[in-house]
C-alpha cells in the first residue's frame, strides 16, 4: 500500500525555508508520498536535496522529486499578468510538487505535462511477469 499526503499551500506558507523543507522531509521519512500544492523556491529545492543527503542512512535512501508547473510560454500576456499578481498576493500556488521516499518511489517521469510515478512494487511485479 502506498500512502499519499496532501499538503495545501497554506500549511507551509508561513513557515521559514528551513521549516518547510524539514516538514516535507519528515513526512517522506515516514514512508508517505507528499503531494504539495505549489512549489518550493529554487533555493529551497537545493536545500531539500542538501538536507536529504545529510539524512541518508542504510534505512533512508533519499527521495524522488518532481514538480509539475504550468508552461509559461504557453500562456498569453493576460494569463501571465494575472498569475504574477496572484503569486505576489497569495504566494506561488501554481503547480504541484511530488516528493516520495526512494525506497517506495522508483522514479517519477515528467513528460512534460503529465507525471508518471513508478513504485518499487510495480517495478518488481513487472519483472516477475517477464
Amino acid at each position: 500500500m502506498v500512502t499519499f499526503q496532501f499538503i495545501p499551500y497554506q500549511e507551509i506558507q508561513q513557515l521559514s525555508s528551513a521549516k518547510r523543507v524539514n516538514k516535507l522531509l519528515n513526512i517522506v521519512k515516514e514512508d508517505r508520498i507528499v503531494i504539495m500544492e505549489g512549489r518550493l523556491r529554487k533555493e529551497e529545492e537545493a536545500d531539500l536535496i542538501e538536507i536529504t543527503m545529510e539524512e541518508i542512512s542504510p534505512k533512508f535512501k533519499g527521495i524522488e522529486l518532481s514538480v509539475i508547473y504550468p508552461d509559461k510560454t504557453k500562456q498569453d500576456t493576460l494569463q501571465v499578468v494575472r498569475n504574477t499578481m496572484a503569486t505576489i498576493l497569495l504566494g506561488d500556488r501554481q503547480g504541484f510538487t511530488i516528493i516520495g521516499p526512494a525506497s517506495i518511489v522508483k522514479k517519477i517521469e515528467r513528460n512534460p505535462d503529465k507525471i508518471e510515478l513508478f513504485t518499487r512494487e510495480i517495478a518488481r511485479s513487472k519483472l516477475k511477469r517477464r
Binding site: 529554487k42 533555493e43 529545492e45 537545493a46 536535496i49 542538501e50 536529504t52 543527503m53 545529510e54 541518508i56 542504510p58 535512501k61 533519499g62 527521495i63 524522488e64 522529486l65 518532481s66 514538480v67 510560454t73 526512494a102 517519477i108 517521469e109 515528467r110 513528460n111 512534460p112
Partner: protein, 212 residues
C-alpha cells in the same frame, strides 16, 4: 589610493588590457554519470596535455570537488580565455549503497562510497555560489526533464550565473539533442561527445560566450 581606484574601475567594467580573463571559475555540473569528468579530462588533455579526474561506469566516481587552475584555451581568432576548471560530484536526490554492491563492490566499499557521495552532493551544491559560469553536462540519451536537472539550472538562473548545456554522449544512437533543446529552450545547448571529442571545437567557442 589611485592604484585601488584603478583596480576597482577595471573590476567594475571587467576590463583586461591583455584581452585575457583570469580567476574565472568554470564549473561542470549535472547528474551522476552524465560525463562531467570525461569532459574535464577532454578539456585538460586538449589544453594542458594531462587528465584531471578518474572516470568510471559506476555512478558517483567523482565524490570530491576537483579544481584545475589556469586552464588556458584559445579560439580561432586568437582570443584567449583562462579559467579554473571545477569538476563537481554528480547531484542526486538518492544514494543507495546496495546499487554499488550490484555493480560488484563489497558491502564495506559500497557504504563508504555512498557516504562520500552524499558529502560530494552537499559540497557541489555549496560550491554553486563560487561559480562564474557553469556547463551543465547532461546525458543526451536520458530524459532531460528530471527534477535534478531543473533544480540545478533553476539555481544557476537564480544566482545569475551564465549557463551552457552540454548534451553529452551524442555518439550513442539513443541520444537526442532536440529533446534537450526542447526541455531548456532558454539556454544554449551544444551536442558533444566528450569521450570521442565530437563537436568539442564548437563547445570551446561557446565557452567564450558564457565565460564573460
Amino acid at each position: 589610493m589611485v592604484k585601488g581606484f584603478l583596480k576597482g574601475l577595471f573590476k567594475k567594467f571587467n576590463f583586461n588590457l591583455l584581452n585575457k580573463k583570469s580567476h574565472v571559475k568554470l564549473g561542470l555540473y549535472g547528474p551522476p554519470n552524465g560525463g562531467k569528468s570525461t569532459l574535464a579530462n577532454r578539456i585538460c588533455t586538449d589544453w594542458l596535455g594531462e587528465e584531471m579526474s578518474t572516470v568510471s561506469h559506476i555512478a558517483h566516481e567523482t565524490r570530491e570537488i576537483n579544481v584545475k587552475e589556469q586552464v588556458n584555451i584559445k579560439n580561432k581568432k586568437g582570443k584567449e580565455l583562462t579559467f579554473s576548471l571545477v569538476d563537481t560530484p554528480g547531484i542526486a536526490t538518492k544514494i543507495d549503497f546496495e546499487e554499488f554492491i550490484k555493480k560488484g563492490m563489497s558491502k564495506v566499499e559500497s557504504k563508504k562510497r555512498a557516504k562520500e557521495a552524499t558529502k560530494g552532493v552537499i559540497d557541489a551544491i555549496k560550491w554553486l555560489d563560487n561559480m562564474d559560469s557553469v556547463v551543465v553536462v547532461l546525458d543526451a540519451t536520458k530524459d532531460p526533464y528530471s527534477q535534478v536537472n531543473i533544480t540545478i539550472i533553476g539555481n544557476l538562473q537564480a544566482r545569475n550565473i551564465p549557463v551552457l548545456i552540454a548534451a553529452n554522449k551524442v555518439d550513442l544512437k539513443k541520444s537526442s539533442i532536440d529533446v534537450v533543446k526542447a526541455a531548456f529552450p532558454q539556454y544554449p545547448v551544444i551536442g558533444i561527445s566528450a569521450k570521442y571529442g565530437k563537436n568539442v571545437d564548437e563547445f570551446y567557442e561557446h565557452l567564450f560566450k558564457i565565460a564573460k
